[in-house]
Amino acid sequence: MSLSLDQVQWIADLARLEIAPDEQVQLAADLSAIVDYIGQLQQLDTAGVEPLAHALDLHDVFRDDEPGVSLTVEEALANAPAKNAAYYRVPAVMD
């Protein structure tokens, strides 16, 4: 299998995803099969080919740095699972 259970765990940590133990084996198998399939791209010679990240040749699409209408603090916090009057609440980050 291309991906070991350890690698799957490492990827899950990077992606901040908790994977239940009974899901891990199937996930490793599924991901390995897909990674194997994707491996066919190695057959292609892409020397000198410019990567295409975006279909449109757009650059520096800026607007003037002027304040405008935006969400109120209340609107922005409306869906927050934990908040106070002005902030999202999270567990302490620093000891």
């Binding site: 991906l3 799957v8 990827i11 899950a12 940590d13 990077l14 992606a15 901040r16 995803l17 908790e18 994977i19 239940a20 899901e23 996930l27 599924d30 991901l31 099969a33 897909i34 990674v35 399939y37 994707i38 066919q40 791209l41 190695q42 292609l44 892409t46 080919v49 410019e50 990567p51 295409l52 990240a53 975006h54 279909a55 449109l56 757009l58 699409v61 607007r63 969400l71 609107e75 922005a76 409306a78 869906n79 927050a80 699972p81 934990a82 999202y88 999270v90 567990p91 302490a92 980050v93």
Partner: protein, 485 residues
């Protein structure tokens, strides 16, 4: 009234033969009767729909100018933000999410005096080809309730096919409008990348996503596309180019017309009945004077692999925002911030979403990014070059939209790769940023719809629609309706 096209309903409304309220009532009734067995809708707000309809009637009474979609019910894939109205993206992680703003396309629909009738079911975060990945319910194909409607915009496709709404919006990242349109026997358009604003479209693959119309005719689809297309300053990837008047040229055939038919679209895995119908459609074009040319898109066999690196990489970044902090599901117990993230996301996301986030994370990770993500971006360039070469001497490229008709519920659910290959003909258009449409072109012996896919060069929607209309005007596949069952 239910079986009428949006254009016919608009005409009847403007003539005074009917009211916006009556049109909405009739469609709400159809939803009440048909949706319990189809489950295309996640949310229908009857009171709101009737209120909108009455407001349109009142505007008409006062002699005020009316928008281009006046009185027409439009269903919205639940990935499009509607202010004050729950938007779930088919995921449990957004079970109670209420957007504080409207998507740009929603604003455009409201300005056009459309009646927003409900939010439709979809594969979770647009990841899927059957709508089976919805965390909420399975949507059934109106032509055969044991079969999937396609995905990820399965709810919108089914709603239009079953005449529960004359129009709907979906989103297409790898085929998610065109493939369900094909499987449900309706018209579905993926506009050119940048043609329609993505502001308020919940992001899956930001360089691939586009919002587009579902309808039962090309004229109806053109009306809806015209209403939503155009520049929006809030989406920096949306182009500032005028939108042509698609309706005024729609019925003018393209002459001369050269159609490129890629040999790679007729290879292994293509169902024999699908091939037969598509080849018959090509004959229709020949009878209308078109020249058919065999072309090659040599890198298209690599498009699924390329997509599953590019789209998943982008998704791993886009879905990082679902962290149990700003909105959405938050785990009840956790040990510190990182554990909060892991548990909230682990609990809130479904299997396919987790698979894709992990694939994308892996593709971007140190030590692998060159071999996977960057390699995929180079192949993406080659895929785009293939299309540029084809369009240098062809007006459009045609082939089947999907390799098979609608498959049975559960048939591919446990084989992710088999599911991914349902998008084999649609995926490359998203990678290249070109527009595409699926139009009904036949049925299997067992009565399942078959779609013809037409692709054109960037921002050539006008030509795309005219070519699609040529086939529609010469056939009557688009007039068939599933049994109301």
């Amino acid at each position: 009234m239910i079986e009428r096209t949006a254009s016919e309903l608009l005409a009847a409304f403007h003539r005074g033969d009917t009211t916006a309220e009556a049109i909405t009532q009739v469609h709400l009734q159809a939803i009440r009767e048909r949706d319990p067995s189809l489950r295309a809708f996640l949310l229908v707000d009857e009171a709101s729909a009737l209120e909108q309809a009455r407001a349109v009637d009142a505007k008409k009474q006062r002699g005020e100018p009316l928008g281009t979609l006046a009185g027409l019910p439009v269903a919205l894939k639940d990935i499009v933000c509607t202010k004050g109205q729950r938007t779930t993206c088919g995921s449990k992680i957004l079970k109670n999410f209420v957007p504080p703003y409207d998507a740009h396309v929603v604003t455009k629909l409201r300005q056009a005096d459309a009646v927003l009738i409900g939010k439709t079911n979809m594969d979770e975060f647009a990841m899927g080809s059957s709508t089976e990945n919805s965390a909420y319910q399975i949507t059934r194909n109106p032509w055969d309730r044991e079969r999937i409607p396609g995905g990820s915009s399965g709810g919108s496709a089914a709603a239009v096919a079953a005449s529960m709404a004359p129009l709907a919006l979906g989103s297409d990242t790898g085929g998610s409008i065109r493939q369900p349109a094909s499987l449900c026997g309706v018209v579905g358009i993926k506009p050119s990348y940048g043609r329609v604003s993505r502001f308020g479209l919940v992001a899956y693959g930001s360089s691939l996503d586009q919002v587009g119309p579902f309808a039962r005719t090309t004229r109806d689809a053109a009306i809806l596309l015209s209403a939503i297309a155009g520049h929006d300053r809030r989406d920096s990837t949306c182009v500032d180019q005028p939108v042509p008047d698609y309706l005024s040229t729609l019925d003018a055939p393209v002459r001369p017309l050269t159609i490129g038919v890629p040999r790679e679209f007729f290879g292994e895995g293509l169902d024999a009945e699908v091939e037969k119908s598509v080849r018959e459609a090509l004959k229709v074009y020949e009878s209308l004077g078109a020249t058919i040319k065999e072309v090659s898109l040599p890198h298209s066999p690599y498009s699924v692999a390329t997509y599953y690196l590019v789209a998943t990489a982008e998704a791993s970044s886009n879905l990082a925002r679902y962290d149990g902090v700003h909105y959405g599901h938050r785990a009840k117990s956790f040990n510190g911030l990182v554990d909060l993230y892991k548990k909230s996301r682990g609990e809130g996301f479904g299997r396919e979403v987790k698979r894709r986030i992990m694939l994308g994370t892996y593709a971007l990770s140190s030590g692998y990014i060159d071999a996977y993500y960057l390699k995929a971006l180079k192949v993406r360039r080659l895929i785009k070059n293939d299309f540029d070469a084809a369009f240098a001497h062809c007006d459009v490229v045609m082939g089947p939209t999907a390799p098979t008709p609608a498959f049975k519920i559960g048939e591919k659910a446990n084989d992710p790769l088999a599911m991914y290959l349902s998008d084999i003909y649609t995926i490359s258009a998203n990678l290249a940023g070109i527009p595409g449409v699926s139009v009904p072109c036949g049925f299997t012996r067992s009565g399942l719809p078959i779609g013809l896919q037409i692709l054109a060069a960037p921002f050539a929607e006008e030509k795309l629609l005219r070519v699609a209309r040529m086939h529609e005007a010469a056939t009557d596949w688009h007039t068939r309706r599933p049994a109301a069952g």
